[in-house]
């Protein structure tokens, strides 16, 4: 017999619910009949009795009740659409393996043939990962060096200052903090130019936003109408760059009231918007709110000033770390990985309501004493 599993089993105090309680007498016979009926076996001995027929009919009704509903069918269409779209993305990664093999000296048909073999694919993927990790490693080595301005001998006063530095008043993060000096204000650059300068791959999208947008809900409705019109993400290349990330993020906000008026399911909206914004994996692995937070974080990192309400998590949850991870994967920026780690730690500490933006600011702050960035306690 299996041990009692408190996570999945009912209280052992209730013997009727405990799977470890052996069935006896009539119960055992009933269980036997049930097994036979489910296995499609004919009634046991003699003529089929009413009891057995009744049980068979009830099982049939239970099966009937479990048939897919119209809502299940509608959801299935959304899932299929999203899955096949994701598959296209997945398959697009295949050439990376082949090209890694080609770079390592195997080319042409050999590379194609070998790339179909699991072990070689694994080795090639491993090689690729190591190649990608080199810049990260170089960054880490660089971050271990003491700042060039730190001398070996200090006066006592200087030493005190270094040991217990006054935390300078920090303004909002600016594009310069990330080496994006050319970015300015709220307006994104032309998509191709934006990609060229930042290599972040964010498309600028034209959404027919009403002149007066009162609430996020209004905005979301506008974006949904735009998506439903069929003119959505396909037009990203030629779109006029006038929609900012925060608007896109707002469009991703979960709002049951507006969702009621939309013919698009959340999965599809998420897929389309995340794809339009160049968030590959977040489409599938992050919940809608995480995609939204990732976009807001990106907006913040570009120097956008946003009300505090945008950043405050509604409740301690895994959404913020996942948002940061989605963005870190997107940008491949070590500093954002650090943000994500900090956020993960914050979930288990005593400050569940601390905004993730504060963690981001900490992680982005230059180290004062050569130590790696670490979240401070406030």
């Amino acid at each position: 017999m299996n041990a009692f599993d408190p996570e999945t089993d009912a209280s052992p105090a209730d013997p009727a619910l405990s799977p470890d309680t052996p069935l006896r007498g009539a119960d055992a016979a009933e269980a036997q009949r049930l097994e036979a009926l489910l296995a499609g076996e004919a009634p046991s001995a003699g003529e089929p009795n009413g009891h057995e027929e009744g049980l068979a009919a009830e099982l049939q009704r239970l099966r009937h009740a479990a048939l897919p509903t119209a809502a299940d069918e509608a959801a299935a269409v959304r899932v299929q659409t999203a899955f096949f779209a994701a598959l296209e993305q997945d398959q697009a990664t295949e050439p990376e393996v082949s090209s890694a093999l080609a770079r390592s000296g195997l080319a042409g048909d050999w590379a194609r043939t070998l790339s179909n073999r699991p072990l070689v694919r694994l080795a090639a993927a491993s090689l690729l990962v190591h190649l990608l990790a080199l810049p990260v490693f170089a960054w880490w080595i660089a971050s271990q060096r003491p700042p060039s301005s730190v001398q070996l001998s200090f006066s006592p006063a200087q030493k005190r200052t270094i040991e217990s530095p006054e935390r300078p008043e920090r303004g909002p993060l600016t594009p310069a903090d990330l080496g994006l000096e050319d970015l300015e204000g709220l307006t994104l650059l032309e998509p191709s130019e934006f990609r060229r300068r930042t290599r972040l791959g964010l498309a600028s999208i034209e959404v027919p936003i009403p002149a007066q947008v009162g609430t996020e809900g209004d905005l979301e409705r506008a974006v949904r109408a735009w998506l439903e019109s069929g003119d959505g993400p396909q037009d990203t290349e030629d779109a006029e760059p006038r929609v900012v990330l925060v608007q896109l993020a707002a469009a991703l906000d979960e709002d049951a009231r507006t969702r009621e008026n939309s013919s698009l399911g959340t999965s599809e909206v998420r897929m389309r918007l995340a794809r339009a914004a160049g968030l590959p994996d977040a489409t599938l692995s992050a919940p809608l709110q995480a995609v939204r937070m990732a976009l807001l974080m990106r907006a913040r990192l570009q120097g956008l000033e946003l009300p505090d309400a945008y950043w405050k998590p509604k409740a301690p949850s895994g959404v913020e770390p996942r948002a940061a991870l989605a963005l870190a994967t997107w940008d491949r920026r070590p500093v954002l990985l650090e943000v994500a780690r900090s956020l993960e730690r914050s979930r288990t500490e005593s400050e569940p309501w601390r905004t993730w933006l504060e963690w981001a600011d900490d992680a982005l702050e230059p180290p004062l004493d050569g130590e790696p960035n670490a979240p401070s306690s406030r």
Partner: protein
């Protein structure tokens, strides 16, 4: 309802051998039943969509290393159950409140039900499914899963035991308790509805669902058998 009875061959073996069409057919024909599977386990509507998508991706990505040591159905549900457990661990999933499930489902149904002659039947199907889900939510998860795999998905006990990693005797016992509780719960529900209708003033209560299509047919007497 079983994942692949209408497929010409094992979708993953076909995919591994370079033929994606069987897997595509599998995705197209089984999405809705798998969504129902997760919904009955207790996932919210959107969560069920995510889970099915994740399941398909796991199957697809694992195709190259797939070695059919068991029937595809068993393999599929093993992965499906793992995805469910992973999701619950990862997001510290709280059980969805029944009221929330109902509200969500009503909204879905409003948008999904077509106002055509088939709409009444759709509504009836939806109500049946809803009643079953409400009663399933009251079961311990272990029993819910056994019921789902055995009754709805029609897997043999030995396969369920293999998927869940428990002895066949435990499956037998869990199935017995699950079915008995469902019969009791659904019987009581129907009796309550009937009493309410009898006590109400005005025209006699007419269920939109034919009694024959209600789970258990409203037989409270079934309990004592």
């Amino acid at each position: 309802m079983s994942p692949a009875p209408d497929l010409p061959r094992d979708p993953l073996s076909a995919l591994r051998d370079g033929d994606p069409t069987v897997f595509e057919t599998f995705v197209e024909t089984h999405s809705s039943s798998l969504i129902g599977f997760y919904r009955r386990l207790g996932a919210a509507a959107e969560e069920a969509e995510d889970l099915v998508q994740e399941l398909f991706l796991r199957l697809f990505r694992g195709a190259s290393g797939y070695r059919p040591r068991e029937r595809f159905e068993a393999y599929c549900f093993r992965i499906a159950r793992n995805a469910w457990i992973d999701r619950r661990r990862r997001s510290a999933l709280r059980p969805v409140a029944l009221s929330q499930v109902t509200a969500e489902d009503e909204r879905e149904t409003r948008s999904a039900v077509d106002p055509t002659p088939g709409a009444v039947e759709q509504l009836s199907r939806h109500e049946e499914a809803e009643r079953l889900r409400v009663q399933l939510a009251k079961l311990p998860e272990a029993q819910r899963l056994v019921f789902e795999l055995g009754v709805v998905q029609e897997l043999p006990y030995a396969e369920i035991a293999s998927i869940l990693g428990v002895p066949t005797g435990t499956i037998k016992s869990r199935m017995f308790h699950a079915v008995r509780k469902l019969r009791e719960g659904l019987g009581e529900e129907l009796a309550d509805a009937t009493n309410a209708a009898e006590n109400a003033s005005g025209p006699p209560y007419e269920s939109p669902v034919p009694p024959s299509s209600l789970p258990l047919g409203g037989s409270r007497g079934a309990r004592s058998r």
